[in-house]
């Protein structure tokens, strides 16, 4: 699993690619929570992810909790229909701001300035 970070304005965008198994899940969790410590807004781009495991889904939840504890917003882009379905079926989807593109995600998290704990509205 590879991850690549770039800044779009004040927003840290982390693009992931490859497979997310239990090893890489811990890696992305640490990376993203590290970014949350340094930046107010984080977007995680899953478009390049080839397959996921339950560990990676749990990693996303840990990211959410870290974000909540630090008063930050995490947006996700590029969820596969299967992953989106799993998150929805387990009630976890509404923890995230879900966007159709990185640009929309950046806009969404910047707009979150005041209400950090708003439940997800699907932006696209």
């Amino acid at each position: 699993m590879k991850s690549r970070k770039r800044m779009v304005g004040e927003v840290a965008v982390i693009a992931l690619s490859g497979g997310l198994d239990s090893h890489s899940a811990a890696e992305i969790r640490d990376k993203v929570t590290g970014q949350l410590a340094d930046h107010e807004h984080v977007v995680v781009d899953f478009s390049g992810v080839t397959c996921v495991s339950s560990a990676s889904i749990r990693a996303m939840l840990l990211i959410y909790r870290q974000a909540q504890a630090l008063d930050r917003t995490v947006a996700v882009v590029g969820l596969s229909p299967e992953v989106r379905n799993v998150l929805s079926a387990t009630g976890f989807l509404h923890f995230f701001v879900v966007a159709g593109s990185v640009a929309d995600a950046v806009t969404a998290v910047e707009a979150k300035g005041v209400n950090q704990f708003e439940r997800a509205a699907s932006v696209a």
Binding site: S22, S53, S54, N85, V86, A89, T90, G91
Partner: protein, 711 residues
């Protein structure tokens, strides 16, 4: 600020031995099963007279074990083998036990070290992730124990604690509820699918969903081929438990990721948010291990003679009718059952439990009924279960019928089979039913004196037997689709087809059947006790006369959502009468009503009438009963609440004299099942009667009136 001491700084987070390449140390004897501990996993298992126990470890997806760790005898405390194993990959782990018995094993021991046993306390079971997918029987160890994280975010969810007498129960099958293509849900036949139908349940007005078995079971257990159709008949209902602590993976959309626990919890959370409690149908009277011909899955290989009732010559007692009988009052088995229910109450926020064939749970190890069964007493008094409803199906397959006499400790309620029988006989016009009808409507004080009406779960239909639509359309069962020559299923259905067997074009028969279904619903909703309805009855669901659809994973038992439209009148009636019950507290009193006047409204709480007011006719030929309720509205300072229900099971209409109420009040019509759809109005829209003193009750119909101020 000091950083918290890492748990790895504990002296007991390090191994003391190395076995099979893993660091291990003596484990903790509790909790039983597999528990995540700092740096490792603790395994604790009770194994009777075993001389040796190994933990068998698999990597997820592998057919064969990765390692076997023989637990040193020194790690054993009493009969519990406990070991902590370090360095395990939790997410990828499957585990089991291999148990060696003594050379001089007893006649009722069934130790078999060639089998890898599942953990009875497993929180997740793998092996049946996809419903109906043919298992690979070459794979040893079919139902594989796994670990659960149990870190679900409940976001403040708490059990609803709805008083028992205020429940309106809806008995449903998780898969059957949304599997039909017409359901339109994203994940048909699953816990997630059920969540999408919560708005429907709210509109119907129910506040408790009772789910058929959701503990892991093997739909392929006892499966067989229907030789006529060539289709495989699976165990659809699931009364054949494999794993008591694990939710059925095949009912989850997310089982591929092992997230069925989260999905189940999300379902409970969503139901609670909608004001709906969750009750589970639990099956402790037998297990999927069957008798001597059945598979060894867990209990049999751990300590057969403790967990099962065995005859002196080594056979399985069969009070469940399914092969084996759980020895539930044995202290070890009892602890298992109590732990299990505590787990579901605490971890899954479950609000109540309905115990299948509960009379089995009253018996001792030899099958002799106990007056003071320790298990039933323990459950009644358990502190963690204190807010849970406990409902007994108070009979079994061994001839023990305990409706009204189930040891109750003033906590247990019962499925009131007598309510079902009385209502059905009354509705089909049997004579001599008026007295018993009154007793049932009053909450069956003949059965539950001192326990209150809340002890009586009233029902006309349930999963066993005909659906409501079939109860009024068939004289006889038609279970040919089950492939047992129609020999299975009950024969004493007290049903009536009204002139034609099954579907008919005759408009008069169709009309009277519709009316009879509404009669059943209205009487059920205006009886003291707890009403339970069967999922689909509100839209006239039919199983084509099959009264034992346990193996019908097909359109025969799936809820057909197109009926929401085609039978919208019936559905509207059902919603309106449910709302009616919830709007009139006098119908929901926890106690049995009596002839005094606790609400000080000038009339007794309940009074009985016939075609003449204040003159009930209890004679054998009478088929008319009037029931007047007098209580208080929800707002205590408001005026008294009068409800008058008249039931006429005669083939003739009757002019019924209405009892007088307070001056300034007149009777208004809420429902008359003989009227056109829907036959019951929306709350608050009751119209005053044209004649305030008399009402003509049509043949085979039920009328409900409320008294309101003269406008």
């Amino acid at each position: 600020m000091n950083a918290p001491r890492l748990l790895r700084d504990r002296i007991d987070s390090f191994p003391t031995h190395n076995i099979a390449g893993y660091g291990v140390r003596p484990g903790r004897t509790g909790p039983f099963g597999a528990t995540l501990v700092p740096g490792g996993v603790n395994f604790a298992v009770y194994a009777g007279n075993a001389t040796s126990v190994s933990v068998v470890l698999y990597k997820l997806g592998d057919a064969d074990p990765t390692a076997e760790i023989a637990i040193p005898t020194d790690f054993r405390v009493g009969r519990v083998w406990a070991v902590t194993v370090f360095g395990l990959e939790y997410e990828d782990l499957e585990y089991g036990f291999r148990v060696y018995g003594p050379e001089n094993a007893g006649i009722n021991d069934r130790y078999d070290p060639t089998v890898v046993l599942s953990d009875p306390y497993a929180k997740v079971l793998g092996g049946r992730e996809e419903w109906g997918k043919l298992p690979d029987y070459d794979r040893q160890y079919q139902h594989r124990a796994r670990l659960a994280f149990e870190d679900f975010d409940w976001e403040g969810d708490r059990p609803l604690r709805i008083p028992t007498e205020n429940l309106v129960v809806y008995e449903a099958h998780v898969r059957g509820f949304t599997r039909h293509p017409s359901s339109g849900v994203a994940n048909p036949g699953t816990y997630a699918g059920l969540v999408e139908k919560i708005p429907y349940l709210q509109r119907l007005g129910v506040n408790c969903v009772e789910l058929l078995p959701v503990f892991e079971f093997d739909e392929f257990g006892n499966s067989r081929l229907n030789t006529d159709t060539g289709e495989m008949l699976l165990n659809f209902w699931g009364y054949n438990t494999v794993g008591f602590f694990a939710p059925k993976a095949g009912y989850a959309a997310t089982s591929r990721f092992g997230m069925q626990g989260d999905e189940f919890k999300n379902m409970v959370k969503a139901l609670h948010a909608a004001g709906i409690e969750v009750m589970l149908d639990v099956v402790f009277n037998h297990t999927a291990e069957g008798n001597e011909l059945g598979p060894s899955i867990s209990f049999r290989g751990l300590d057969n003679q403790t967990y099962y009732m065995m005859t002196p010559d080594g056979y399985y007692f069969n009070f469940s009718g399914t092969g084996n009988t759980v020895n539930s009052n044995n202290p070890i088995t009892r602890d298992f059952i109590v732990s299990c229910l505590r787990y579901w109450a605490a971890e899954y926020h479950i609000d109540g439990f309905r115990f299948d064939l509960a009379a089995v749970l009253d018996r001792d190890e030899n099958g002799v009924p106990l007056g003071n069964p320790p298990l039933i007493q323990a459950l009644a008094h358990d502190p963690i279960l204190r807010d849970c409803k406990l409902v007994a199906e108070a009979w079994d397959a061994g001839g023990l019928y305990q409706v009204g006499s189930f040891p109750n400790y003033h906590r247990w309620s019962e499925w009131n089979g007598k309510y079902r029988d009385t209502l059905r006989k009354f509705l089909k016009g049997d004579e001599g039913m008026i007295g018993e009808l009154a007793t049932r409507i009053a909450g069956s004080p003949d059965l539950y004196k001192g326990r209150g009406a809340r002890a009586s779960i009233n029902f006309v239909t349930c999963h066993d037997g005909f659906t409501l639509a079939d109860m009024v359309a068939y004289n006889d069962k038609h279970n040919e689709a089950n492939g047992e020559n129609n020999n299975d299923g009950a024969n004493d259905n007290n049903s009536w087809n009204h002139g034609a067997e099954g579907p008919t074009d005759d408009p008069e028969i169709v009309k009277v059947r519709d009316r009879q279904m509404k009669n059943a619903m209205l009487l059920l909703m205006t009886s003291r006790g707890v009403p339970m309805m069967l999922s689909g009855d509100e839209v006239g669901r039919t199983q084509k006369g099959n009264n034992n659809a346990y193996c019908q994973d097909s359109e025969l038992s799936w809820f057909d959502w197109s009926q929401v439209e085609t039978n919208s009148g019936l559905l509207e009636f059902a919603s309106n009468v449910t709302a009616f019950r919830l709007a009139h507290p006098v119908l929901r009193g926890a106690h049995h009503p009596n002839s005094i006047d606790p609400s000080d409204c000038g009339h007794p709480e309940v009074s009985w009438h016939g075609t003449r007011a204040w003159q009930p006719d209890w004679s054998p030929g009478s088929r008319v009963l009037g029931i007047m309720w007098c209580g208080h509205h929800l707002d205590v300072d408001a005026s008294p609440d009068y409800v008058y229900v008249v039931a006429n099971s005669h083939w003739d209409a009757h002019d019924v004299e209405l009892p007088t109420v307070d001056p300034g009040f007149v009777w208004h019509l809420f429902a008359d099942t003989a009227q056109d759809d829907p036959g019951a109005c929306v709350l608050g829209n009751e119209e005053p009667l044209s004649n305030p003193n008399w009402y003509t009750v049509s043949p085979r119909s039920v009328v409900a009136l409320v008294a309101r101020p003269v406008s």
